[in-house]
Symmetry: C2
Subunit: 440 residues, 2 copies
């Protein structure tokens, strides 16, 4: 029998992910040893409440409420408590003691990544976080290693399963936003407080991590432009469908150049129109997908379950094997590199296509005047579709709907143009302004 | 300015992939240094013909016909010549001299992988081969690293762009096999000698590599069951469509248990029916996709371009950065682990669903007799659809088509049953027997 070196693994948290990690770690100990070259010994599990009911039956003596003591002497610390504190303090303690850290805590990394990666670098320890974006879908390693010789142009990602589930229900079953949210909640796709998901905060944290990694730059979470889906209406969903689109909440990381020629990064989250033939359009239910466009590799897509205790545990255990191999053989981990040091540019610098729906008073010359406002604003029109309200077709001053598809325009120009459209005497209402993503 | 350690890179081959690798290596030298920690110096390019016209303009003094001398003193050797010899000899020379090797040569690795990985292990060198399966799509690292803590159950992969292009044309435009092949050839999707692609040899080489990696076992290429697409007819394509399926040439690596309870691996290639709602069904044209089912992670899919000079170069450069990082920081590479040592089981041990189309003489009791043959053979019927030939409906001894969908059955039982069906007096012809994959 081969003698493996023993590595001490401390687990912080035994919730939906942590309990599965503990189970798989104990069940697959031999397999994991053969694959990593180390015997991974689970030395303890820190929880808040020793008597809480757990998803998985584990030896009682593993549990402790004393995380700080558990960390001492561990070779690898797995943080699955969530939240900023005390997770951050424990992670820094672990790193400072020389342990490698594995975490799925996107909130913490998006907010305090620089400090955590800095602390790791100082002591030569490593931070692994494959589970923090799109759970079980391998995306951190592909970006960091497989695409390390390529230049990434853009990432369009569905990284929040809750909102994808909601939008998918509205699209496929015609649900209202409220009904779709209700169903999502009942099926466990949505937390009691839906804000983090529905308003795009969770997706924005992941956009921060994706942009930092893809562009070798430190992207501050606070600068990420964020719009949620709460304002999306069944009418917008239907109109998108009629035009051959589907509405998806996208986390976008893109390399852009602003008007002044400054090269930088855009990280943003909003509901956008995606062509129904785009691979992202067929990502249904609570699934996640990361669509990467690289200079040499062309388009790539990574697809799978973006959440779930056991799915996320798969990513954590993959990181654990990597960390163990590094302990045995040395070598680089999954740390961040920010050598490119590109600035995060504001949303105004972004260039996309738009679809604008307007209600206008249907009188002579209206189309020409609206087109004039757009062209004055520097927004070039690609398609216009005019629908006169039914039953009023011979009423010279009835209402018409204009659906305008634009060529790619700067967000800043578009916003100013939408203001001008709103102020126009011809306009009764600006019904919807949505960006179109994935085109080119 | 940071001083990087210099690593000497020798390139063997300047064809469609090699020339792009050389170009990107020279163009992105600074970026690659920042990302890998090493200055990657291209010391030379071995070719057969110094005067051949190349896709890319490169300094003439880089070219040499003396590959053996070029290898001497290189830290990293990139083999992009293709074929078994002299590629194999050069790779072994490089490894024995302590250099790391990067290759996209699936034919060589499928045939002589054990010898090559063995040589690498002996000297502590590494072999990287992300480009060998599905070109730019990251799949080797996800299997080896990201999923290292999980247990893979099955991989269904579209890894041959040529045959996917041909089948997709037949499906979408109703082309005949000959017309689809002609178009594929004209558009550069098919070589002058189509055998390697059309008969599934290329896919079988990739199945070997996927199965070895996914199941930590050494899978011999010679034992991989292989069927090509040349026998696929427009009628089969149409019948598949009518039944809600699409026909795809799949490379399959699966962990199975045979009748005797022996655990092992199945590696096989054949055209199979895939449900139109399965993610693999929407892989169109020359694209590739690898669908992985893992115990904890659930289903995952990796999608992108499966060929092309510059796309494949992306994977090679990713490997180059990994190899360089390893030179700088030490640590494990992408070598193979065969600790699980599972046997490759024959096709007869595989369990799948089937769809069988028969022409039978339409007379009383025929359905019962056919059903009897199936049940005697241990093949359980899930669905039967009987169509009497048009215009003969009141002819008591006309011809009827039976399309039988089976429950999962062992291949060996199925083959014996098909023989019994063929021999039956009721049967005029067995029109088509296709396996159904991706169900469950
Ligand atoms: N769930 C997913 O699908 C998923 C997917 C990707 C990433 N993640 C990330 O993974 C992390 C864990 O998620 P989860 O869903 O497993 O969370 P969870 O179910 O809420 O579990 C949290 C665990 O941490 C423990 N804990 C919390 N505060 C603690 C403290 N101060 N001291 C000691 N223990 C403490 C809790 O103990 P008690 O049980 O005693 O209360 C509980 O066991 C989060 O960062 C999350 O964002 C989750
Ligand atoms: N093309 C793709 O899309 C793709 C995708 C994935 C993997 N791959 C793999 O990548 C490898 C290279 O493919 P490729 O399409 O680039 O091949 P290719 O276009 O045929 O180029 C082969 C190159 O190797 C050189 N060469 C061949 N034999 C040689 C010898 N004995 N000594 C010195 N040089 C020799 C050739 O030199 P001359 O130019 O002087 O003849 C040529 O430059 C193959 O293993 C292939 O399977 C290719």
């Amino acid at each position: 029998m081969i003698e493996y070196r023993t590595l001490r693994v401390a687990l912080l948290g035994a919730g939906s992910v942590g309990s599965q990690v503990a189970r798989l770690l104990l069940e697959n100990r031999e397999e994991l040893a053969a694959r990593s070259g180390a015997d991974l010994q689970l030395v303890g599990i820190a929880v808040r409440n020793l008597d809480a009911k757990r998803d998985v039956e584990l030896p009682r003596e593993l549990y402790t409420t004393d995380a700080e003591t558990l960390i001492v002497g561990a070779d690898i610390v797995i943080e699955l408590m969530g939240g900023i504190e005390p997770a951050k303090t424990y992670i820094l303690q672990a790193l400072n003691a020389g342990a490698d850290v594995i975490t799925g805590n996107k909130a913490l990394l998006a907010e305090h990544g620089a400090e955590i990666f800095g602390a790791a670098e100082q002591v030569g320890a490593e931070v692994y976080y494959e589970a923090a974006v799109a759970a079980a879908i391998p995306i951190i390693r592909p970006l960091r290693d497989s695409l390390a010789g390529d230049n990434i142009k853009r990432i369009l990602a569905i990284v929040n399963g809750s909102t994808n589930y909601i939008l998918d229900r509205m699209d496929r079953f015609g649900d209202s936003m409220a009904d779709a949210q209700k169903t999502a909640f009942e099926l466990g796709f949505l937390e009691a407080d839906p804000t983090l998901d529905v308003e795009g905060y969770d997706a924005a944290q992941k956009a921060t991590l994706l942009a930092s990694l893809a562009f070798h730059s430190s992207v501050p979470a606070s600068g990420v432009h964020r719009e949620g889906i709460s304002q999306i209406t069944p009418e917008q969903i239907q109109a998108a469908k009629d035009a051959g689109y589907v509405i998806k909440l996208l986390a976008i990381a893109e390399r852009i150049t602003d008007e002044d020629g400054t090269e930088g990064v855009s990280a943003r989250v909003y509901p956008a129109l995606v062509d129904r033939n785009h691979p992202l359009a067929s990502v249904h239910g609570g699934n996640n997908a990361v669509f990467v466009e690289a200079e040499a590799a062309g388009p790539l897509m990574f697809y799978g379950a973006g959440a779930g205790g056991v799915q996320t545990a798969s990513a954590i255990l993959g990181d654990l094997v990597s960390a163990a191999r590094r302990h045995v053989a040395g070598g680089p981990g999954l740390g961040e590199s920010t050598h490119a040091d590109l600035p995060l540019l504001p949303i105004g610098s972004v260039t996309t296509k738009y679809q604008i729906s307007l209600l206008v008073t249907d009188r002579p010359g209206v189309l020409a005047r609206i087109a004039g406002i757009l062209s004055d604003g520097g927004v070039s029109v690609e398609t216009v579709q005019q629908t006169v309200q039914p039953g009023e077709e011979d009423d010279a001053t009835g209402t018409a709907t204009l659906v305008i598809g634009t060529h790619a325009a700067r967000e800043a120009a578009l916003q100013a143009t939408v203001e001008a459209l709103t102020a126009s005497e011809d306009t009764q209402a600006v019904v919807s302004v949505l960006r179109v993503e994935g085109a080119e």
